[in-house]
């Protein structure tokens, strides 16, 4: 009997590890293994196939001398900052408005959330048609009689990047709203009542109590939005195809074209490493703060 119990305890000990082992091994190889492989490749002169001829930092030097990469960096800076800020602001506002115990909230919430259920390809294609001056908004407005109406951002090299922001914000702000809404529902009503008794106005209530209490929600929103921004590929491909010209090139589209279609695997790999480092620069402090909080 004793050995039986012993076996059961041991099994209970080992079972979770056994069950997790395959997925752990697969993740180790296919995620971390290939990250290492990419880093190695970025220091080699690989062109069409992986080749292990060391070239040091040459790929990185070439990368930062490329005008296309500079365009990509500028674009991601514009896109990421606008996307994150606008999504957060709209998401927060929607959440606060929906949190006013309004009628039909159950119906409104999914309406805002549903764009998230679409893939970026669908969003991109739909917005491409909508923004196309020949068939979309501009055309409709002119048919309705507003002859001077003009909205040609998507065909304009300087403005096209903002159409990507527009489509991406439309897609994700509902999701951010859901995160904030969950945060709002988690706030203790007692605190709000106490503040109201103390004579706090609605504005003060939100500014001094509710928004500070939403800090964890802000953090999660920021992390999710920033990694969505950095890996944005499908939306760009569907919406502008990197055009007009190369005006909406992003690091992810750059990485794909250099690695797989232009036989410059080394440079492609180095751009992927730069992207990884950018994400790490955002994620590591966040994870560090999270873990520290748990210990305390």
């Amino acid at each position: 009997m004793a050995t039986d119990a012993d076996f059961r305890t041991r099994l209970q000990d080992w079972l979770p590890r056994l069950v997790l082992a395959p997925s752990f091994a697969v993740t180790l190889l296919f995620v971390y293994g290939f990250i290492l492989f990419t880093i190695v490749l970025s220091f080699t002169g690989s062109k069409m196939l992986p080749r292990f001829t060391w070239v040091g930092f040459e790929n990185y030097e070439k990368l930062f001398a490329l005008p296309a990469w500079n365009t990509a960096i500028t674009n991601i800076a514009i896109f990421a900052s606008l996307y994150i800020v606008i999504c957060t602001v709209i998401g927060l506002m929607l959440a606060i408005f929906l949190d006013q115990k309004i009628r039909g909230e159950g119906m409104l919430r999914p309406i805002y959330l549903y764009p998230m259920a679409l893939s970026f390809i669908v969003t991109g294609t739909a917005w491409k048609w909508f923004l196309d001056p020949g068939i979309g908004l501009q055309n409709i407005m002119r048919q309705w009689g507003w002859e001077s109406f003009s909205f040609t951002w998507i065909k304009d090299s300087d403005m096209a990047i903002y159409t990507i922001v527009l489509a991406a914000v439309w897609q994700t702000s509902g999701f951010v709203m859901a995160m904030f809404l969950a945060g709002l529902r988690g706030i203790d009503n007692e605190i709000l009542k106490a503040a109201q008794i103390d004579g706090a106005s609605n504005w003060q209530l939100y500014r001094r109590i509710v928004i500070p209490l939403l800090r964890p929600a802000f953090l999660s929103a920021f992390v999710i939005l920033s990694h969505l921004a950095i890996k944005s590929y499908d939306l760009v491909v569907a919406l502008t195809g990197g055009g007009p010209g190369r005006a909406t090139e992003m690091p992810a589209t750059f990485m794909y074209s250099y690695t797989f279609t232009r036989n410059q695997m080394g440079i492609g790999a180095s751009s992927a490493v730069i992207m990884l480092m950018t994400i790490a620069a955002i994620m590591v402090p966040y994870l560090y703060a999270e873990l520290k909080e748990k210990k305390a």
Partner: protein, 416 residues
């Protein structure tokens, strides 16, 4: 009963074994549009008739980019396809990697050297070995003109750049878009090479886009090429950017626009719309200011080295089928290109194809046939990619011609 089932099983096993031992050929390609698939069907029928099983491996998307990625994965896993549709420098690259086999014996037996123009041999015969089998040749420096639009303003088709530039305001006055253009990077690259040959001539084209000579790229003749590109930039409608090439062809087909500069694959769009050359539209070469010229693109199936004798047999049958004169004609009737062989009767083909084929023969003899740059024949993918970036940036901005030429030279110098 049991014995019967065992013997049936064994018979089945034997027959499966027999199927496996049959010569077969796996063909990886990106010919997925209607005309292209029909064209490949002509080859397939001949191969199957030769007793070889045909394994079709189409990979759609991105003008072959997706297929290229898939090929890299197949090679990396040590399982290359028997034959793969590849373009230009890619063939030379894979040959340099030592991945391609050859059909020299067959080529010698069937006399390919005499049948194929030098232009085609440059991209199928590497170091004296036929590593690739050409199905067709495309001409990329073509103008597709709407007869209705030209009739409306009562003008003849342009034969010089001056004529062409002078037509633009007249078309605009008549409410016709002078130039239908799809503003995607690769289309601008094809337009650029047509203008480079047309304005600068074969000599400039060779020095600048094949030898990648820096002084030529920064020279005054290149600025003239960009001047003409700037003139063309003024002839497109406001809504050109991002448009697919076949939509631009449709604008010419329905008379909304007068001309399109596009490779001769555009003919398929006109044919499918029920238009005939001469009556409804004209296919004319891009004007040539500095001597005759012809930009060609060779489509060919490259043969990857195989160990299995059945597979090698399959490759031979495939190669022989592709080079069969009847298959070449049937293939190109469907694809809208011209046969790679210049020694066969083209009576079955339309006036456009006959004229193009004749032009290939004269330009090949005169040394003025140049390989396509945009289609990565003249230079490798990294140079073409960088140059395409520069050209498309120029075409989508109001950059001056000299700045454009400098940007192109810088981009090519960095990618070389």
């Amino acid at each position: 009963m049991r014995r019967l089932s065992i013997s049936t099983t064994m018979a089945l096993m034997l027959s499966t074994g027999a199927v496996l031992a049959e010569p077969s050929v796996e063909v990886m390609h990106f010919w997925t549009s209607g005309g292209e698939a029909a064209a490949l069907g002509a080859v397939r029928d001949k191969v199957v008739a030769g007793g070889v099983a045909w394994a079709d491996a189409p990979i759609a998307g991105g003008g072959g980019d997706a297929a290229k990625t898939a090929l890299q994965a197949r090679i990396a896993s040590g399982n290359p396809p028997a034959a793969m549709l590849m373009l230009g420098q890619n063939i030379l690259d894979w040959a340099a990697e030592g991945m391609l086999g050859n059909v020299d014996a067959l080529a010698a037996r069937e006399g390919w050297d005499a049948a194929l123009p030098q232009a085609v041999q440059d991209f199928t015969k590497v170091d004296g070995h036929y590593v690739s089998v050409p199905t067709n040749v495309h001409r990329t420096d073509m103008i597709w003109a709407s007869k209705a639009a030209f009739d409306k303003i009562g003008a003849p088709y342009p034969t010089t750049w001056e004529d062409l530039n002078a037509l633009a305001p007249r078309f605009l006055e008549a409410g016709i878009i002078p130039l239908a253009h799809g503003g995607q990077a690769w289309q601008e690259a094809y337009m650029f090479e047509a203008v480079a040959l047309g304005v600068g001539g074969a000599e400039l084209y060779r020095k600048a886009l094949i030898e990648l000579d820096d002084a030529t790229l920064r020279g005054p003749d290149m600025v003239k090429v960009f001047d003409q590109m700037a003139a063309l930039r003024g002839m497109v409608d406001d809504n050109f950017s991002g448009r697919d090439w076949n939509l631009a062809s449709a604008m010419v087909i329905n008379g909304e626009a007068a001309m399109q500069i596009m490779g001769d694959w555009a003919k398929g769009e006109f044919t499918n719309a029920g238009k005939s050359p001469g009556d409804d539209y004209a296919c004319i070469p891009v004007p040539k200011s500095a001597g005759d010229g012809f930009v060609y693109l060779v489509n060919s199936l490259s043969l990857f080295t195989q160990e299995d004798p059945d597979m090698i047999k399959g490759q031979e049958v495939l190669a022989s089928a592709i080079m069969d004169p009847e298959v070449q004609v049937a293939f190109n009737l469907a694809k809208g290109a011209i046969p790679a062989r210049t020694d066969i009767d083209l009576a079955a083909m339309d006036a456009c194809a006959q004229a193009t084929s004749a032009a290939l023969a004269t330009n090949d003899a005169g040394g003025t046939a140049v390989p396509t740059f945009a289609g990565t024949h003249a230079a490798n993918a990294s140079v073409v990619g960088a140059a395409t970036d520069a050209v498309t940036t120029f075409f989508n901005s109001d950059m001056s011609a000299s700045d454009g030429a400098t940007a192109l030279a810088d981009a090519i110098a960095a990618a070389k």
